[in-house]
Structures are given as structure tokens and as C-alpha cells.
């Protein structure tokens, strides 16, 4: 087991090397230039040349890359070039990361809370109208792009709607139900979290529902369920204690894999709702060509995924000796 973990961990630096090399090359050779964004129209060639020299951007690629890696290994991931000029990248990420993790956790809980019961019902009521309805809703939810949901849900829930029915001489107002686009982000214990978390949870709901449904259907056809029923157990006991618990195992795996995604913020959701998390930071950094921030975020997300995969594999290995040898 130790050998297995070690072998997996030894791959990590190799992976990080390639990811960092590619990301760094994209930053250096990609179109646009952070100094150009910083100086905008006032770009005086003398100033550009000076800043390029002082930052070492005039050095050959391998030197720049080596400098970056040397600093990064000492824990210095550079400073923001444009967007938050001179702020250490580490500090910027340290501020954004908790926000994104919190929002993602809310989204995952929402996804579990909605997806698992839906999948359970759909599995129990397989091929009935209720199953079809749930599957239809889930597919619709996952198929609507976030870029569409953001403005539509915001319009529906965070504006006042004046409804006038001229024929009946009726006039009344509804809303705003959720005050999310006024003022700034207030943390997850405010009503502002509901829409972004809900939109982020749609994908999770879909995965959970489908997995739970498939799991229930599979487990319910197992022999031991028939045995349980045959020995006269109450249906509630059969479903909750025998069937559901087994159907939940793959859900746990999916959750494990999602932990890696915790640190990755959604560009679209965070920017639309003004959530000052990793997604917003990455978005700003990309557009400003603030590539030390981009680098650090890419590496962070890579490490998170590697570790969450490792944890899942280790758990599997513990459960199933066949995997350990693979």
C-alpha cells in the first residue's frame, strides 16, 4: 500500500512540471502582454522596455521559467503584475480560496440534498411518469447553459415584477425574492448565496440523481434484497437499510472526486454574482494577462485533483485488494 501511494506521489512533480511548463509558455508566448494591459494606451516604448527588463521578461524562456520555478519552490509565487499590482499572489489566492470552497461546499450539499432523494424516487418508481419527470427535469437542468441561467434566474428572483391584468383591473407586485445583486458578497450565510450555489449545484444534482437511480435499480435486483423481503422485513427497512446504503457507495466516490473541484471556482457564476473567489480571480488574471496568478491557480487546481484522485484510489485500494496491484 505504501509503495502504491509513493509511486502515485512520485508522479506528482512530473505532472506539475509539464503543467507548469505549458501554462508558463502560454503566458509568455500567448497573445497580449501584461505590461501592455497595465500601460494601456499610454504605453511609452521606453517604459515598456524598462519594465520588461526589470521584470526579466527580456530573458530567454528557459531562464524565465527557471527563475519562476526556483522562486515557487521557495514559496514565492510572484506578485500580481496588473490587476492587484504588487500584491503577493499567495495572499490573493489565500483570500479567494475560502470563498470558493465555501460556495462549492454549499453547492455540493445542495446537489446531494436534492439529487439523492430525486434519484432514489426515480429508481424506486422506475419507468413511471414520476421517473420520466425527474429525468426530464434533470436533463433540462444540466442542459441549460449557465450563461443563460445567470441572467434569467436573476431577473426572475431579484427584481420587482409589476404585474398588470388590464381585463380584470388587477395590479400587483412580486419580489424581489432574493436580494443578491445589490452590494457585495456577504459570505455563505446570506441570501446572496442561494442563486449562485443553486446554479453551481445543477450539474451535481444531475450526476447524483442519475447515479442514485442507477444504483437503486441495480441494488434492488440483487438476491439479498429478495432474501430480505422474503424473510419478511418491512419494506422501509429493506429500502433504507439494505438497498439505499449500498446504492450510496458510488455516490461517496463521486463526492471524493468532487473534493478536487472544490478549489476551482466557476468563471461564469462567480463573475455574474460578484463572488470574490478563485473563479473571479482567474478570470481577471486571464484577461489582464496577469500570468503569475494564472500559473499559481492552475498548479493549485492540478495538485487538488491529484490528491483527491489519490484519496479515492487509496479508498478503493483498501476496499478492493485487486486494485492495489494495478
Amino acid at each position: 500500500m505504501t509503495a502504491f501511494i509513493l509511486r502515485r506521489l512520485l508522479w506528482l512533480p512530473v505532472l506539475l512540471f509539464f503543467i507548469s511548463l505549458i501554462t508558463f509558455a502560454l503566458g509568455v508566448y500567448g497573445p497580449g502582454d501584461p505590461l501592455q494591459v497595465l500601460l494601456g494606451l499610454r504605453a511609452n516604448p521606453e517604459t515598456i522596455e524598462r519594465l520588461r527588463r526589470e521584470y526579466g521578461f527580456d530573458q530567454p524562456f528557459h531562464i524565465q521559467y527557471l527563475n519562476y520555478v526556483t522562486n515557487a519552490l521557495q514559496g514565492n509565487f510572484g506578485y500580481s503584475l496588473v490587476k492587484y499590482r504588487d500584491q503577493p499572489v499567495g495572499a490573493l489566492i489565500a483570500q479567494a480560496l475560502p470563498v470558493t470552497i465555501q460556495l462549492n461546499l454549499v453547492a455540493i450539499f445542495l446537489g446531494l440534498g436534492i439529487g439523492v432523494p430525486l434519484g432514489l424516487i426515480a429508481g424506486l418508481k422506475r419507468d413511471s411518469w414520476i421517473d420520466l419527470l425527474i429525468r426530464g427535469i434533470v436533463i433540462a437542468g444540466i442542459s441549460l447553459p449557465i450563461i443563460f441561467l445567470n441572467p434569467v434566474l436573476t431577473f426572475l428572483f431579484s427584481r420587482r415584477h409589476d404585474l398588470v391584468f388590464a381585463a380584470a383591473n388587477l395590479k400587483f407586485s412580486i419580489g424581489p425574492i432574493l436580494p443578491m445583486v445589490q452590494g457585495y458578497w456577504d459570505g455563505i450565510f446570506s441570501a446572496k448565496v442561494i442563486l449562485p450555489a443553486f446554479i453551481e449545484s445543477l450539474g451535481i444534482i444531475a450526476v447524483m440523481t442519475r447515479q442514485m437511480r442507477a444504483g437503486m435499480i441495480e441494488v434492488l435486483s440483487e438476491d439479498y434484497i429478495r432474501t430480505a423481503r422474503a424473510k419478511g422485513l418491512r419494506e422501509r427497512t429493506v429500502i433504507l437499510r439494505h438497498a439505499m446504503r449500498n446504492a450510496l457507495i458510488p455516490i461517496a466516490t463521486i463526492l471524493g472526486l468532487m473534493m478536487g473541484g472544490l478549489v476551482a471556482g466557476s468563471f461564469l457564476v462567480e463573475n455574474w454574482f460578484g463572488v470574490p473567489g478563485v473563479g473571479q480571480l482567474a478570470f481577471d488574471a486571464l484577461f489582464a494577462r496577469d500570468y503569475y496568478i494564472t500559473m499559481a491557480l492552475v498548479l493549485l487546481i492540478a495538485v487538488a485533483y491529484v490528491f483527491s484522485n489519490l484519496v479515492v484510489d487509496i479508498t478503493y485500494g483498501l476496499l478492493d485488494p485487486r486494485i492495489r496491484k494495478a
Binding site: 492587484y84 432514489l120 445583486v181 445589490q182 452590494g183
Partner: protein, 572 residues
Amino acid sequence: MSNSENTGGNRWLIGIIVILLVALCGAVCVGGGVLYFLMQPGSSPLAQPAPGFGATPPAPGKQPTARAPVAPSRNILRLPGGTDPRTLDPAQVNDTNAGEYVAEIFSGLVMLDQNLKVVPDIAEKWDVSEDRKTYTFYLRKEVKFHDGRPVTAQDFKYSIERVANPATLSPTAENYLGDIIGVREKLSRKAAEVSGVQVVDDYTVKITIDAPKSYFLAKLTFPTAYIVDKNNVERGGRTWTDKPNGTGPFKLKEYVRAQRIILAKNENYYGESKPKLDEVQFILSGGSAMTMYENGDLESVYVTISDIERVSDPNSPLNKQLFIGPSLSTGFIVFNTRKPPFDDPKVRQAFALAIDRQKVIDVVYRKMPLVASTILPPGMPGYAEPANKLTYDPAKAKQLLAESKYAGKLPDITWTTIGAGGSAAQNVQVMAGMLKDNLGARVSIQQTDDASFFNTIDDPTKNPYQMFDVGWAADYVDPQNFLDILFRSTSTQNWASYGNPEVDKLLDQAALEKDSTTRFKLYQQAEQLILTDAPVIPFSHSREYWLTKPYVKGMIYPPIIIPRLKYVSIER
């Protein structure tokens, strides 16, 4: 196992699950709502914001918050802050967003007053030598940093040396201080000290510049030349602006990234206009500023195009709170005069007459900006009503095109514009359509992101764009800032690759001219020559639209960075 076998046994189960599901959704909504109200500032100890790189750790209990209704007794102004400023370091400021805060926290030898005139600030007066190359500034003796330390000439010297230190990485050093002798040398590591700044005594400092330049004082009003505290900078390291120790009318009280910036009154401010507000809160990010204003959560707000119609309606109560001011900027449509067909002035003139700019501004921009007929914006000294207003004239345009060397064989044209998404900016589309209708020109639109765009137009000799649109706003209040920088043949911001020896000669004369009336005349002559050659079409002068609550007095919306909050008071 078939479905029907199950149904009878667990109908209750499904029922319970459905109820749980509904309850969960309800709990989330209600719980969120309850928590939302609990989170209202002051009502709950939970209301602690996450610590950011705030200037001071937030004090429990008296947390000022944007949404909070403020007791009338408190003298607090709440403004929309937009996105986070890039920096609060005067040496790093190169946009108005950051400049707005820095101009309140710090100050310099000279400043611009409400009429955009250069007036004494930390320097109480100055002398200019006979050759107009040496300026001697006499500093006020009562000026102190926020921490109480007196400001002397050495502090000014230190601040300039710091900007000129290449390790400071200032993006504005050349543009604003490059005229001072020794600054460029120090920036390129050829000198250790700026020889052009000399401390005569504790309260006298002498600055020498490389040539007589009438706009030099105007440049000194920019944050690059502001005074910073050596101890503050050296002890604070790279993030010293988390706790800036300035000299300005306000101090930084709190900064929480993406949430708020709070400035507090500097009780010991030396200036004649003492700050009257206890606090100014800038609300960063966060959606609809207009809604916040209407809910009474902001004292002032900019008006966007989506609200302009109802605000402009004379019957609206908001109309009485509306302020419209110039912004000292001009939007241009630029022709690359090295690329066919724009190497022929007749084609450029034809294009200029074939676009109905008034219509575009009326329809697409709902009349918010003014139609431009000049390069200099109104409000800029030297601005004169144009003789020739470049009025829309499709017949004349056709005629000019027929006289050009591209008559009947106009090549396809690409108009490059900043933007992303399925459809380009409406204004560009409309104007391309006008060129097609009036001249039969085939203009396709190419969108690009701003980083690539600036990178490309930065080098006029290599710029492949045929035609593009770009705006220019004043950095300092002098016609030189538009005409010399954008149209001198050797300038790097000469986007059109325009070159006219006569214009260059006039610009040289103007730069050296002592008498301002003659000087502005020379600039006007140069402007007329440029407009006739039409390397650009002046398109619009944008305007500032702001709403302000009637109980706020003294609020101004200057088109350029000036310290302005000290003039504001709240009188309910």
C-alpha cells in the same frame, strides 16, 4: 423487480421523501432569508466580514457596512466604487480608478483645483527661472503625514528618487517625471541619483527640467509626483499601501478586497478646504449601483445607458438630481495612413463625411456623449468651436471618393474593434453599414481583446489594422496631451502613422511658447491642419452623468483625477 410490486409498500416512503425535499428547499430559502436578516450589520455578532487585506482589522460591533442605513447624525458619504483599484501606491497609479483614492490619501507639491487650474498644495509658492528650466518650490511648514511626522523637502526628494528607482517598477515614471533631469538616467541605471531634484533647505526644493515646457507643472499634479513616507514604504515592503501614511485630506481606514474601501477624515489636514465628511465609503463590485442609490444606500451614482432615458425625463424626480459634465476625452475612428486605401486623404475625408455621427450618438448612445468635431474636447484650454463641423454629407463623400485614386476600386476594409461575443459593438456595425450604403465600401468588423489590441496599435510602424476605433482621455489639462502625443510624426501614440512636417513645426513652436494665448492659437492651427488631413475622425466627447442626493453639497465630478472629497458636505 418490477415497479408494481413496490408501489404499495413504499408509497409512504416516497411521500416522506417528497416532503423532505420540499422542506429542504424551504429550509434553504427561509434559513437563508433569516440568516440574511440576522446578518444585517449591528444585529448579530455573526456579521464579521472575512478578513481581507484591510488597512485595519475590522473592529467588532462598529462595523460600517454599505447596506446599513446610516444614522443621519453621522457624516458619511457612500459612493459606488466599481472594481478594485489596481494599486494605492502613487508611483503605480496610471488609471483614474486607482487615482481617485490615491488623490484623497496622498498629495503633492501642486494640485488642480475645481476649475482644473494648477494651484499650490504642499508647496505654498514657486519661482520659475528666466530660462524656464528651473523651478524652485517653497514648502508649507505645517504639513504633516497622517502619523504626525512633518513633511520636508527631503520627503519630496525621496519620493521622486523612489519613482525613478528602476526597482519600483513605476509604469508612469517616464510619462510624468521624464522631463526632470536625471530621472531617465536613473531609470536606466546610468545614474544613482536624480540630479534635477535638489534639496536647498528643509522647506525649499529645486527642480531642473531638460527644456522649457509649459505643461510641466500640470504633470506634477499627477500622483506619480506625490509625496510618500520613507518609513512607511520601507517598513511595509511591497504591500506597504495596506497601511498608507499619506498627507492627503483623508486616511485609509479600511480596505476589504472586492467589498469596500473606507476613507476617514484627516483631522490635521493642512489645506484651506478642510474635509467635512467623517467618512467616505466606496462600495466595490456588487451589481446594480442604481438600485442601491434609489434604495437610499448610496449618496451618488453614475448613470448608465440603461437608465438614461428615465433619468433625463424632466418629469422624473431623479432629473432634478442629475449632473452632466464634460469628461475631457475624445473617441476617434482611426485610419492607418500607411495602408490602402487610407493612404489617400480623399478616401479618409470621404469616409468622415459618409458617417452620420449625430445619428449614431442619438440612437446607439441615446445622446449621452456629444458629437465631436474637434480633437480637443470641450473644457480643455485651447478648445475652440470648430469652423467646419464635419457635417454628414453623403453626396460630397461620394464625390470625394470618385476623385480619389481608389475610385471604383475600393479594396475590402477591415475595421478592428475591442470586443468579444457574437456581435460587435452596435455603433461599429451601424457605421460600417453607413459606409456601405453611402460609399459602397465593404467593411468587415474584426473583434479583438484589449490586451492584443493595445499591443498591436502600440507600434504604429508595424500596425496591420486598416481602421479601428479608440478613445483618449486627458492625463493633464493641456492641449499638448492630445495634439502632440497623438499626431506628432515621431510619437509612439501616433496611431494613424500620420506625418505632416507643418504640424510638427507648429507643435514645436507651441511647446516653447511662453504666452498661453499664442500657444493655444498655435495648437488650434495644428488641429485645423490635422482635421483637414483627416487621419482620424473625431467621433464623440463622452460626458459624465451622475445623480446626487439633494442633501449632499459641494460634490463635483471632475473629468480628471483631483482631490475632490474635501469640498463635499452632508446637510440634512
